[in-house]
Structure formats: C-alpha cells, structure tokens
Amino acid sequence: MRRVLVVCSGGLGTSVILKVELKKIFKEWNIPVYIEQSDVSAVGFSNAEMIIGAKQIISSLPSQQSVALIPLTYIADSAHIRNTLLENDALREWLDDV
C-alpha cells in the first residue's frame, strides 16, 4: 500500500478536490494507495512516500529525502495532473511494480 499526502494551505479546499481526482487516477492505474490530506503545518508528521499539491505550496516545503514531491500548476485539470504524475520517476516506478 502506497501512501500519498495531498497538501494545501488550509487542508479544506484544493486538497479535497485533488484527493478525489487522485483517487480516481490511481485506481485507474491499479496502484493501491492510501491518500491523506492535510495542511502545510502537518507535513512533517506524515510518513507518506509522495506529496502532491499546488506548485506554490510544494515549493514552500523543505526538501525531504526519500519523499517524492510533485508540484502541480493546475490542480483541477485532470489531463495536466496525469501528465505531471507520469513525468515523475517515483511514480513511474510504482507503475512498473503493478
């Protein structure tokens, strides 16, 4: 089971949307995931392997080893999200494992 964290500034709006969209995508790709959502302040407490969010939020996070950070330009644009995910190495590995 992969663990993904979705972040936004308040943990209420964009991360909620993103979570819904990501659930759909990961299911399609057959990757078993547990998706958490939270605001920026709780990122340090998460044991997620991948953090996804709007680029402005992601860039404010301290860089962390062993955690893949995926910044998005448009968090509600399904095609854009898919393309960005597929460009990420960690995610491609996940896909290879399936």
Binding site: G11, L12, V16, I17, Y34, F45, Q56, Y74, D77, S78
Partner: protein, 694 residues
C-alpha cells in the same frame, strides 16, 4: 376504530374474568388516569355495538363478564376490525395479505379503513419496491393482487416483512414460555398464521439443536423461527421451491444440518401440514441453519476458523503496523463471526453493514489494509467477499487498536511567559484530550531556544513566539474547541474521545435497543447512524446538497467587471447575505492573493479562491463567469470563471465542489457555461446532477 393500546386493553379484558385495576393500566402504559379513562370510554362505545356492557367499579377497576359465545363473537369482531396502522406497517400487512391470498383491493381498503386513493398509492409503491428489491411483479389477476416471480424471491420478501413486523424481543418469549404473550404478535398470528402452531415450530428448532448438539444465539433463533414460519406457510399453500433451485447447492445435502433438519421437519410437515417434504425444501432451511450464529461454546470444534482468525489478526498487525490489544478476545470474536460469514459468502446471502459509511470515513486506511491482506494472502479462502463483509472484519480487527495512530508518541513542549502557573493547567488539559502526546517539559520564553526539531514535535505556547524552528501554536490554558482541532491537525492524531469506537458502537446498540422497545422506529438504520454521530460527538452527516450550500443569488453569469477585487467582494457579499461568511472574508482573500504566490488558479482561466478562516460561519460557495475575462491577482491571469468557496470543514462542500471540478474537465460543459447567461439554467443543472430536491 380502536388504537393498538385499546385493542390490547380489550384483549386483556376479554381474557380475564376478574377486575383489572386502573393503576395496572396506568402503570403498564405509563399514562395518566385520564387517558386510561378515555380509552375505556372508547371501549365502552365499541362494546355497545355488540350489546355488551363494560362493568366498571370505582375501586376495583373494570371487567367484562362474558359467556363463551359472547367471548367468541367479540374476538371475531376484534379480528375483522380495521387495523389502525402507520403507513409502513400498513404496507407490511398488505404484503402478508397478498401472500396469504386475501388480496382483493377493495376489501383491503375496508380492513385498513383508508381511502381508495391511499390504497392505490400504497399498491403502486409496493409494486416499485418489490420490483426493485426482490425482482417480483405485483399484478392483479381475477381481481386479486398477486406476486409473480421466483419462489425464492417471494420467500425473501416474506421473511424480511416478518422480521420487520415481529420484534425479536417480543417473539423470544416463545422460546422460554411457549406462549404468545404479546398481543401485537398474537393479533398478527391469528390473522395470518392460524394454521401453524407456533409451539411446534419452537419444538422443531429445539429438536434440531438437540440433534446437532448446538445452541443458537437468541437472534438466530428469532431469525430461524421466522424462516420456518415463512417456509411452512408457503408449503401450506402448496408453493414449493422448484427442484432446479438446488442446482449448484448440492453440497448442502451432505451437511450434518441437512440430515438433522430433514428428520425433524419431516415429522412436523407430514403431520401438521399434511404434505410431503421435497429435498429442495430441506435444503432451503439448511441454508439458514448453517449460517445461523451459534453460542460460543459450540465453536470449540471449529479450529479451522480460530486458525483463520489468528492468521488474519497477525497479518493485520504486520501490514497495518499496529499492535492489537486483547488479542485472544479478538480472535475468538472473529472466529465466531467468520463461520456464518463463510456460509453467507458461499451462498450469496448478503447482509448489510449499517456502519459501512462511517467506517469508510474514519477507518478507510484499515479497510484498505484488510482488503489488501485478503487479496494477497487469503486468495481462494474468501470467495466473493464484498465490502460489507470486509467492513465487518475491519470492525473486529480495529476493536483492538488502542492508539489509532501508529506513529510514535508526539513530543510536546509547553511554553508560558514565566514557565509556571497557567502552564500546569494547559498541561492537564492536554493530557486529558491527547493522552498519546507526551509533554516533555514546561519552558519559559527565554528557554525556547533549547527546543529543536529533534527533541520536540510541537510547541504549545500561551504567548507569541518568534524565530523558532519547531511548529508552534498559541493556545489558551483551557484548550477550546478551535484550539483542540488545531492541535489535532498539528499532531496528526485525533483526540481521545474519538478513539473508543467499540464503546461508542456498544452504547449506540444499547440505546437503539431501548428505543426500539418503547417506540416504533420508522427508519432503523438512519436512527442508528444518527445515534452514532451523537455519541461520537461529531456533527451530523453533512447536508451536502446544493440548496444548503448556495442559492441562485450566488450564481452570477456573463458579467462584465473591471477589477478582480470587486469580484471577490461581490461574491463574498452573496455568501454574507446567506449568513455563511462575514465581509472580512473577502478582505482576507484579497490580502492573501495580493501578498502570496497564490495557488487558486486551478485550471486555465478558472480560479477557486478559499481560505481556512474564522470568518467562515458555514460552508458555501458562490460563483461568477466574466465576459470578457478579467485579469486576476498580481500575475494578471486571464480568468473567466471565479468560484468562491467558504469551507467550515473538509466534508460539507465536497459533493458540490466535486461536481464543479468535474465540469472543469469537460469542455462541453465549460463551453456552455462560458456563454450561458441564465442563472436558472445553471442552478437547475447543478441540482439535477446532484439529485437534490427542494
């Protein structure tokens, strides 16, 4: 027309020759003397039609002195008396009448004392319901209503109807005293099942128990009783299961249950129903007896299930990285659950898990783990397991999780201006609400520098801090709700009260039973859910429909605007009018967008501004489409659609927002929205998609 209570009182009076005191009535129904007197007056009137007088005594109460003939007449009249029933119970009775062949619609009108229209409505509702839930067609043939469809489906409907009509508790007396003591049940019994001797059914079940050397649990006995009632009455009217029904169920014939059932059933069927007993019928009861729950002792022989339960528990601990407390108890409980669960899965009997939605919300992580374990390690063991069954397994397994969060204890430091005083108050509030956090010390402001990310996860401070690396939060010593929820976010753990899931469920069950004992519950699973929310201390399930989140006045289309700030103020004003936000919310948003590199541009040309803010009173949204597009924020992005969201929590607005975002990804919809200027068109579109009806 008599009420159920009056009926019961009358029944008592008919069956007792001596006086029944007023106080025994008031005690029994917990009513005032006046109400009881009123009831007796109604009874006197009713009795007058049969020329019988109620003998009332100032001191002793009331009695009926009747000859055998009068008694018989009265009982007969009482039976043909219209039944005063609630809408849902009336439909249940209609199902029984149709099933038992007493189904001429006009005589039903009379029996229930309802208008022709009501009856027609009831019938069409029944038609819909039985077609969708039981694949049965209800239609008229020779003036009589009849169900058409597979016999097994008719029986399912029959069983479910009786389960609804007979309460477990009221029926259970039968197994103890062999007597129908509840008037309510007796009335139904006399009306529809006169040809069956209820005592004999109890004897059949007990005979099977003896034969198999098992003891069934109370609720299984109740269930089995009803199954046999249904089976016997179908057979009585010569409706048998076709031999083809047995196809692929041949295995049933080899079970020890089959043999015991055949032996016990045959004697009864031949003697009392005077018909023969085909194999398919024995198999039908076998199906239910196998999946009935036995009392714990009878599990001892079933090592298989204990082993399986043990494997499940260990796999769950490993995969979920949790340590379960009280493991032997969980394994026992799970094994007890697994046995009937297996039979359910094998024969495709589905039971609904009323808590599934709640579980999904709070324990989604563990549900996924259980699902994963089963797919990976128990393939072939669980055939066709569905999400309801997975939910049950999860409940059993999670009952042993003490700390829901598997992460190690959070290290919290407390800071206050002097280092003493209020800090101890804060410390005890914290310990009470978050026992999983460990307070490693109380510090004064000038000692804060010694706190680093290595030794501290969170600082809670009663004063404002500057230049600290560790996440910190300013709080009051009492920790109000808002602060509590903030700490919860910061620590990533939930507060104490939310953890004892099993306790909550047990409390809910008890209250649920108590309520059911004293009142007719219209929608049990809904009540169960709401009780659960109440005891869990969470808010009601989200309303979530568009009408509660927005209003046509909040949908502004094809607007010409020059400044994005004005758009924000205007959209917020719509929400202020609905009492969802304060005017300050717009200022906060404008401020944020101006000063921060905002991330609200969620797709090209579409912004979705929102903040977590005290200025939000209730969840809601408003929106505007701009023609021509406006230049939004410091980056001057060209924007044609602004959706302003006010969110109080992460769930209420979800359905509406999901819908809007879905629209963002569908060019056909966005293109339409770009040119649409009629608010009503968009409003209707939203409502239709969501199925909301005002």
């Amino acid at each position: 027309m008599l009420t159920i209570r009056q009926r019961e009182m009358l029944n008592d009076l008919i069956n007792n020759n001596h006086y029944i005191s007023m106080t025994s009535f008031t005690d029994r129904y917990d009513l005032s003397l006046r109400s009881i007197r009123q009831d007796l007056i109604s009874l006197e009137e009713w009795l007058l039609h049969s020329n019988i007088e109620l003998d009332r005594h100032r001191k002793h109460g009331a009695r009926l002195v009747l000859s055998d003939l009068e008694k018989k007449d009265l009982l007969e009249r009482l039976e043909s008396e219209p039944i005063f029933l609630s809408g849902s119970n009336r439909k249940r009775h209609m199902i029984l009448m149709i099933l038992q062949g007493d189904s001429d619609a006009s005589s039903m009108e009379k029996k229930f004392d309802v208008s022709h229209n009501t009856m027609q409505n009831d019938i069409s509702e029944l038609k819909r319901f039985t077609a969708s839930d039981y694949c049965l067609k209800l239609s008229r043939s020779k003036g009589k209503l009849q169900f058409f469809g597979e016999e097994i489906n008719i029986r399912r409907l029959f069983i479910d109807t009786l389960l609804d009509l007979f309460e477990e508790e009221k029926l259970m007396n039968l197994f103890v005293t062999f007597k129908m003591e509840e008037t309510e049940i007796e009335l139904i019994w006399n009306r529809y099942f006169r040809f069956i001797d209820e005592k004999e059914i109890v004897q059949v079940i007990q005979g099977i128990e003896t034969e198999l050397n098992v003891e069934y649990t109370g609720s299984s006995l109740y269930h089995l009783f009803i199954v046999l009632v249904v089976q016997f009455s179908r057979m009585f009217y010569s409706h048998f299961l076709p031999p083809e029904w047995l196809n692929k169920k041949e295995k049933l014939l080899d079970t020890s249950e089959y043999e015991a059932i055949e032996k016990n059933l045959k004697a009864y069927v031949v003697k009392s129903l005077s018909c023969f007993l085909p194999k398919s019928e024995v198999a039908f009861s076998t199906l239910y007896f196998i999946s009935a729950k036995k009392k714990y002792d009878s599990l001892k022989g079933d090592i298989k299930f204990l082993e399986l339960a043990e494997r499940l528990v260990f796999a769950f601990e490993k995969k979920g990285k949790v340590k379960l407390s009280n493991k032997p108890k969980i394994i026992e409980g799970l094994a007890l659950h697994l046995k009937p669960a297996f039979h359910r899965m094998k024969y495709g009997l589905q039971i609904e898990n009323a808590l599934l939605d709640e579980l999904k919300k709070d324990y989604e992580e563990y549900i996924l783990i259980v699902e994963e374990i089963i797919l990976a390690e128990f393939k072939g063991v669980f055939e066709s397991i569905d999400e309801h069954e997975i939910g049950f397994l999860t409940i059993h397994l999670c009952s042993g999780i003490e700390n829901r969060v598997s992460t190690p204890k959070k290290k919290v430091a407390i800071v206050c201006s002097s280092g003493i005083g209020t800090s101890s108050l804060l410390e005890s509030s914290l310990r009470r609400k978050f026992p999983q956090a460990s307070v490693h010390g109380v510090y004064s402001v000038n000692k804060v520098r010694s706190l680093t990310k290595e030794n501290t996860d969170v600082i809670l401070s009663t004063v404002s801090l500057m230049n600290v690396d560790v996440p910190w939060l300013k709080v009051s010593p009492f920790l109000n709700d808002f602060e509590t929820s903030k700490i919860q976010e910061l620590l990533g753990v939930s507060q104490m009260e939310e953890k004892n899931e099993v306790d909550v469920i047990n409390t809910v069950k008890q209250v649920h039973e108590l309520v059911k004992k004293h009142a007719v519950v219209e929608n049990e699973s809904k009540m169960f859910r709401e009780l659960y929310h109440y005891f869990k201390g969470t808010t009601q399930p989200s309303k979530g429909n568009i009408t509660s989140l927005s209003h046509p006045s909040c949908i502004l289309l094809a607007q010409q605007r020059s400044s994005w700030e004005k758009v924000m103020v205007e959209l917020n004003e719509c929400l202020v009018q609905l009492n969802k936000t304060t005017p300050v919310y717009a200022d906060e948003l404008i401020d944020y967008i101006t000063n921060q590199d905002h991330h609200f541009l969620i797709a090209e040309g579409i912004v979705f501004p929102h903040l977590s803010s005290d200025q939000v009173i209730e969840s809601g949204f408003s929106m505007m489409t701009c023609d021509p597009p406006i230049l939004f924020g410091p980056n001057e992005d060209r924007v044609w659609w602004v959706i302003l969201l006010a969110a109080k929590n992460p769930h209420d607005h979800l359905p509406a927002v999901e819908l809007l975002i879905d629209a963002v990804n569908k060019p056909t919809i966005t293109n339409k929205l770009k040119i649409e200027s009629q608010t009503s068109v968009i409003w209707e579109w939203l409502r239709e998609r969501e199925g909301g009806v005002e």
